[in-house]
Amino acid sequence: MYAYDELDRTIINERVSEFRDQVKRRLSGELTEDEFKMLRLQNGVYLQLHAYMFRVAIPYGTLSSKQLRRLAHVARRYDRGYGHFTTRQNIQFNWIKLAELPDALSDLADVGIHAMQTSGNNTRNVTSDQWAGVAPDEIEDPRIWSELIRQYTTLHPEFSFLPRKFKFAITASAHDRAAIKVHDIGLRLHKNAEGETGFEVLVGGGLGRTPFIAKTIKPFVPGRDLLSYIEAILRVYNQYGRRDNIYKARIKILVHELGIEKFAQEVEDEWLQMRDSALTLDDEVVEDIRSRFSYPVYEKLPHMPEELKKAAHDPYFEAWRKNSVAPHKVTGYAIVTLSLKPVGGPPGDATADQMDAIADLADKYSFGEIRVGHEQNLALPHVARRDLPALWRELDKIGVATPNVNLVSDIIACPGLDYCSLANARSIPIAQELTRRFANHDTANLIGRLHVNISGCINACGHHHVGHIGILGVEKNGEEFYQITIGGRADENAVVGTLIGPAVPYGEVADVVEDIVEAYLALRARPDELFIDTVKRLGVEPFRERVYATR
């Protein structure tokens, strides 16, 4: 867990009283909507179809049980009893009343939660691996660096009025769970040949209307130089970035137009002038932040406790364990993913009652800590393996033990036309139908790892471009249609998917996905060749044929 310092608390509290005053003036008519809009966006408040939507940051996806209970409270007291976890380690409330927002913000501020920089043209929530600090293969805890960047960019004048929004993601593991290649700046912690720790810096990734996979501009930047190097990138961006055209303003477009070599050179030139400036990070600063992250005092526990051996006879437990339990860096412990993708449910939603129950379980079994991942699931990061059977029974009772993590029904979906004012088409009912079609766990297991991602419009909040199967809602003559891509992925080998053919109507999407899956099962070279690898090997053609032969 991370303990905020006095400065953070002061900033957060000042923000709440400022916003309370702004809301008051908006409701009295002293501020027009035009004047108010930017102020509300700075506090994470959007206007959606039915109501205001309130987006709250969960920095690097780490929550305490106390914070989760407070989110539950906000859901219950100010909203309709649930919240939606997003792909960027935020939670959104869909039915908030503007008049009550200052109270909600204030309740959250009490536990160090805020909504700053969850919208607007600034640096957004710095996301990280949801397994940070506990993944066995990690170099070091990437959240220390996420926090450094968060502190450095929060309210930094130069970063508050960028040409466009700006997103960072950091990972410290070989397997990228933070989707760093679809972020404006992606950072990968690794060790160089000399054994020093530093960052591979990638820029220009992004989804939306024009998707790009980030490219490496420097293979190794030592930790002490991280901030000066980032500042150099931001300066080049601020200098060249297109403020005249919202569709061209993201750094990905600049990188694309300048070319990666030229962009890298510009950054290098800028950086050489300032690398030894005040931005150089002293070890003390880093250590200070490191010291604010507390880790549990783990017990010495066996890898194979009796409880686990006994439970292994229960096939339901085993199905869940194999699917949702991952190795931990400490022997005797495990990382447990909580699926927020029940059959027939909206992906990523959790009710206030579930949040409270999960907070209690985190206290009992995970040292009071919960994580939020970009796949819209939660995780308990420090569970003793002996407690797994007991935990599983409790998770099952509250509906978050569906053994479908990383399987076809573990769908990422944006709110789509049911909530979102920008949508062309619905996302949630498509996801729900797919989870019903693939409800049989044995079938889903047979299919193996397969990520279906759905967005209701080209803004790509549902990451459709990088879904193994991507579904994008479009409009044709007032009807909902969907373009289907295959072969995308968001991990260390990220690529943008390829369109398989003309868009299909709402009622046919689930059939098409079933066709694609059947084609894969028939085409795969071996039972363990993943969908994504079969597509890579064969290209989209055989899938296209299968889908359109009868349509």
Binding site: S28, D349, D418, C457
Partner: protein, 105 residues
């Protein structure tokens, strides 16, 4: 649906209304013939020409305190004069989400 937030030129091709969200709580509202707002689509003022639409929108936008994000949207007039939403987006705004909410109201 192409988002009406991108509405630039006003040209309507059938019966239309003006809708917005109520400022203090965000609830969906419709401009009424007596220059107020209602949460019921059945109370909406119906316009049939682009000029009427422009005028209705102008007076709606002028109420900046009461409403936010006003725009023109199509309606269908059923036999008997019943007003129905003219597209899926407006259907969802007027009837609510098409899915079961995680917590029943």
């Amino acid at each position: 649906m192409t988002s009406p937030l991108e509405q630039k030129k006003i040209r309507i091709t059938g019966p239309s209304m003006v809708t917005a969200n109520r400022t203090w709580d965000g609830v969906v509202i419709y401009r009424t013939p007596d220059h107020g707002w209602s949460v019921n689509l059945s109370d909406a003022a119906i316009v049939r020409t682009s000029d009427e639409a422009r005028a209705l929108l102008a007076e709606s936008v002028a109420d900046d305190v009461g409403a936010v994000g006003a725009y023109i949207a199509p309606v269908e007039i059923k036999d008997g004069g019943k007003i129905r939403p003219g597209n899926l987006r407006e259907h969802i705004r007027s009837e609510g989400v098409t899915i079961d909410l995680p917590v029943p109201a």
